[in-house]
């Protein structure tokens, strides 16, 4: 696989960092080269957060990308900031619970996921990120749902959070399933 890069972006607390890590962790488990790079710094104080995960079958040069292959945007500022730079035909997973009005220039594969509502259905607001990641899996086809489940499980276990594996698994599934219907072309 050629280098595939994903930017995950949202407010602090939306699980942005973890989402990116799970992409990288899963990629590694699948035998790929991976890098993961967070934004960091004082903007964290109540602000936005983002990170970049890259998976590739070849050695990865720059862990920073100007034009990501895909974007998971949890809020409007994230979409505004990164949306325009997503590659032609790239994937954008966006949280339609918070983003209701947008326009994009290039022809992107856009997945509209009301992640807040979907997570509410699952009974846990904290899993909006895994819902989105499920959708990303479906839309990009780069890492399979089952691979991501395994990667997520390993990641949570390594930080002593086994107890959340189940609910996150459900969230991944929910996102994946919902995305089947929700994939649209730009500019909606």
């Amino acid at each position: 696989m050629d280098q595939y890069s994903t930017i995950v972006s949202g407010f602090g607390g939306q699980g942005v960092i973890l989402t990116g890590k799970i992409i990288a962790r899963t990629g590694m488990e699948e035998g790929l080269e991976v890098t993961w790079l967070p934004s960091y710094g004082p903007e964290m104080r109540g602000g936005t957060a983002n990170c970049t995960a890259i998976i590739s079958s070849k050695l990865i040069g720059s862990p920073v990308v100007k034009e990501p292959s895909s974007l998971i945007a949890f809020n409007k500022p994230s979409l505004d900031k990164f949306g325009p730079s997503v590659q032609q035909d790239g994937v954008i997973v966006l949280n339609s619970s918070l983003i209701d009005d947008f326009s994009l220039d290039k022809s992107h594969k856009v997945v509209l996921l009301p992640v807040n509502e979907l997570a509410k259905d699952l009974g846990n607001q904290k899993v909006i990120n895994m819902v989105a990641l499920g959708g990303w899996s479906k839309a990009t086809g780069k890492l399979s749902l089952s691979a991501l489940k395994k990667g997520m499980k390993l990641t949570l276990e390594e930080s002593g959070k086994e107890r959340f594996v189940d609910i996150n698994q459900k969230a991944l599934e929910k996102g994946y399933e919902t995305a089947k219907e929700g994939i649209k072309a730009s500019s909606v």
């Binding site: 004082p42 903007e43 104080r45 109540g46 602000g47």
Partner: protein, 257 residues
């Protein structure tokens, strides 16, 4: 309520609480419920009331208040981490006619800056120091500070601070009160309106000492850091009352003018 309705309604009403002049129209970048914001506002209010906005120079370093220069509509110097007391000393010595304050976190004042803080106090520099004790390093990720309580979990004391390995919560105010230099040392909190009023009075008093050439004042604030304490802001206020005050009792420690 519509804007007109507000206007209507407030006609016979007087504004009793508003943003102080000495603050710019900028949003703080502190986390929700962070006491830095309250303390910033109180200092601005005191500056307004004393009419010294034009002649005050603030010094405030890195730490969560790194943007203080943006928030205050006064001249501000941003020293290196820990050097605030010495930088304020330099500014005040060069221009004794200015009112100079030092705004310092506990990491800044009580850890890396202990030398500069202690000697500014010992020399009785004619400056006003605000020492924001939130029992840890807010900015860099919630690490232990010398002020961290015993048992408190921080990112560098994941099992809780132990006295054996990391020593005791340092009582800077009491320690500096042992010196002959300082004029006024007090410890304040800002978790409720009564405490906030007291703190405001203390700030004004400290500025007045400086304006009257009476020398060094130190106001320590017990300050909540909900985000790094892993608490919601209301719980964080409770923690100050129940745990932090136990170790760092409120009130004036010395006043010698």
């Amino acid at each position: 309520m519509s804007e007109e309705a507000v206007a209507e309604n407030t006609k016979e009403m007087k504004k009793v609480f508003d943003r102080p002049e000495s603050l710019n129209d900028q949003q703080f970048s502190y986390c929700p419920g962070c006491h830095h914001g309250v303390i910033n506002r109180l200092i601005a209010e005191a500056i307004d009331e004393l009419g010294i906005q034009d002649t005050t120079v603030g010094t405030a370093p890195v730490g969560c208040s790194v943007f203080l220069y943006k928030w205050f509509d006064i001249d501000v110097i941003q020293p290196a981490h820990g050097r605030v007391s010495a930088v304020a000393t330099g500014a005040k010595r060069a221009r004794p006619d200015l009112t100079v304050f030092a705004y310092q976190g506990d990491g800044d004042f009580a850890s890396i800056g202990t030398n500069n803080s202690t000697h500014a106090a010992n020399r009785g520099e004619n400056i006003t120091t605000f020492f924001i004790n939130n029992t840890l390093y807010g900015m860099t990720g919630g690490e232990m500070a010398p002020t961290t309580l015993i048992g408190q979990k921080t990112t560098t004391t994941p099992q809780g601070r132990t006295a054996k390995d990391y020593g005791y919560p340092i009582k800077m105010s009491e320690m500096l009160a042992e010196l002959d230099g300082p004029t006024y040392i007090t410890r304040q909190a800002v978790y409720d309106p009564k405490r906030i009023d007291k703190a405001r009075t203390a700030i004004k008093k400290a500025f007045r000492f400086q304006m009257e050439d009476e020398g060094y004042s130190l106001i320590e604030f017990l300050s909540a850091c909900p985000i790094n304490w892993g608490m919601d802001p209301v719980e964080a206020n409770e923690r100050i009352k129940k745990e932090v005050e136990e170790v760092y009792p409120l009130g004036d420690i010395i006043e010698r003018s």
